[in-house]
């Protein structure tokens, strides 16, 4: 498995697209990898929808505080400049378009930017949590996921077969194989991971994939 990006490498690739002063929400799962990579010097301010702005990395076990947890209920810390607030204000930040970027996990992303990340088809008990508000509200929704399912099926698709979280919201997808932009005309390849050709990425994508200029099929 020397081809492609590891989860940490994908996180690093996402991080390269963030900027100082960006307010960012990280979804549960793979996106939380970013929290491990951030340093104060980067000036990226993490929002946790349970009511924290300025979330820092996990504390050592002896400094855990049950009143400082992230959206996945894991213990985190507050960085200098942090603030805390209730859930209505927290989601006002999201729904009101104040968050610069939400980095979310997903089951599927469609070529129109539809996001499916809260429920499997036929799942009886499912929880949506903050995912629907976050994906509707953040200025930019970026998805971090593996390019293919365990069964080798594409997760980037024409139409989501999983229940939608929100329609037409995803702007960019970071996978182990590539970075892909969602444009008005569908998926567009921005970058391939080491060891993959554009053709291989296109073959692993369930919808047309436009290539950047100068790259052959």
């Amino acid at each position: 498995m020397s081809r492609g990006w590891s989860e940490t490498e994908i996180a690093r690739r996402v991080l390269a697209d963030l900027w100082e002063g960006a307010y960012v929400n990280l979804g549960i799962g793979m996106p939380l990898r970013l929290n491990e990579l951030l340093t104060p010097e980067m000036g990226i301010i993490l929002h946790s929808e349970n009511g924290i702005l300025g979330m820092g990395p996990a504390p050592p076990p002896d400094r855990r505080d049950d009143d400082i947890v992230d959206a996945g209920k894991a213990h985190v810390t507050l960085i200098p400049g942090a603030s805390v607030f209730h859930s209505a204000d927290s989601f006002a930040m999201l729904r009101g378009g104040h968050l610069d970027v939400a980095v979310l996990g997903a089951y599927q992303v469609s070529m129109r930017g539809d996001l499916a990340n809260w429920k499997r088809p036929g799942q009886r008990l499912a929880g949506v949590g903050g995912a629907a508000d976050i994906s509707v509200g953040a200025r930019r929704v970026w998805v971090m996921m593996r390019h293919l399912t365990r069964d080798g099926e594409p997760r980037l698709v024409r139409e989501c077969t999983f229940p939608l979280t929100a329609s037409r919201v995803v702007k960019r997808v970071y996978t182990d194989m590539a970075v892909i932009e969602v444009t008005e005309h569908g998926f567009r390849l921005l970058e391939t991971a080491p060891g993959y050709t554009a053709a291989e990425v296109a073959a692993a994508t369930g919808a047309p994939l436009a290539l950047p200029e100068g790259v052959g099929g």
């Binding site: 009511g51 049950d66 947890v69 805390v84 209730h86 989601f91 008990l125 499912a126």
Partner: protein, 225 residues
């Protein structure tokens, strides 16, 4: 002299009866009024409707109420925590009805209930199954779901400090749904670590003004192993 403190957890939940709607603050273990929930369990009320972000995990709190068959319905955003067997199995056997609302919608609907607003107009959920059965309104060329406000008979709230008038301060991310639920119930009960005399809390640092609070009960903060 106004004094909203009550001497025990039992007194704190007096009047909480079968069939009532009960809001429960907290997000995971943060800001969750576990001791008040134990008191509700001890009281033996049944057919409760629980409004909370989660639907209980493991075998305590809301999960304990479900395991003891006290819950008829849960309105929540995320019942799928790691150890959610209580709610999962109760829903599967048809004992508990589950109503799911997106977390931001849930928060805003509780606030709307407390603020006397008729509902919440939100873009969240449009075009998904989360919108099923809900009216859609078009305003100025944009569509919004109309979500119903939520109110309760009791709100069980966890705070850090409170004075005898019921002014509450929360500790860090303990806030989450607590200040909103405090607004939206006929009877709001707050369990806190510390009770203060009136005037000891800076007016600028109050998170929940006393007007929203009916009862305050002090509970020693649990020390985890």
């Amino acid at each position: 002299m106004i004094d909203k403190t009550v001497p025990s957890l039992e007194v704190a939940v007096q009047g909480l009866e079968d069939g009532m709607v009960v809001m429960v603050g907290g997000f995971g273990d943060s800001g969750t009024p576990h001791e008040l929930l134990n008191a509700v369990l001890g009281r033996g009320c049944k057919d409760l409707t629980i409004v909370s972000n989660n639907a209980g995990d493991g075998d305590r709190g809301i999960a304990a109420l479900i395991l003891h068959h006290r819950v008829r319905k849960v309105i929540c955003s995320f019942p799928t925590t790691a150890h959610n067997y209580a709610v999962r199995e109760a829903v599967e056997r048809g004992e508990v009805e589950l109503e799911l609302r997106p977390q931001g919608t849930l928060a805003e609907c509780i606030r709307a209930g407390g603020a006397g607003l008729g509902g919440v107009l939100t873009p969240t959920g449009l075009g998904t199954e989360l919108a099923e059965g809900k009216p859609v309104i078009e305003l100025d060329g944009r569509q919004y779901l109309v979500e119903r406000p939520l109110r309760a008979d009791f709100a069980l709230v966890r705070g850090w400090r409170a004075d005898r008038w019921g002014n509450v301060v929360y500790r860090y991310a303990q806030q989450n749904f607590n200040p909103l639920m405090a607004m939206a119930a006929r009877c709001t009960v707050v369990q806190v670590d510390h009770v203060h005399e009136v005037g000891e809390i800076d007016p600028m640092q109050v998170h929940t003004p006393g007007i929203f609070v009916d009862r305050v009960v002090r509970v020693e903060r649990e020390v985890r192993a």
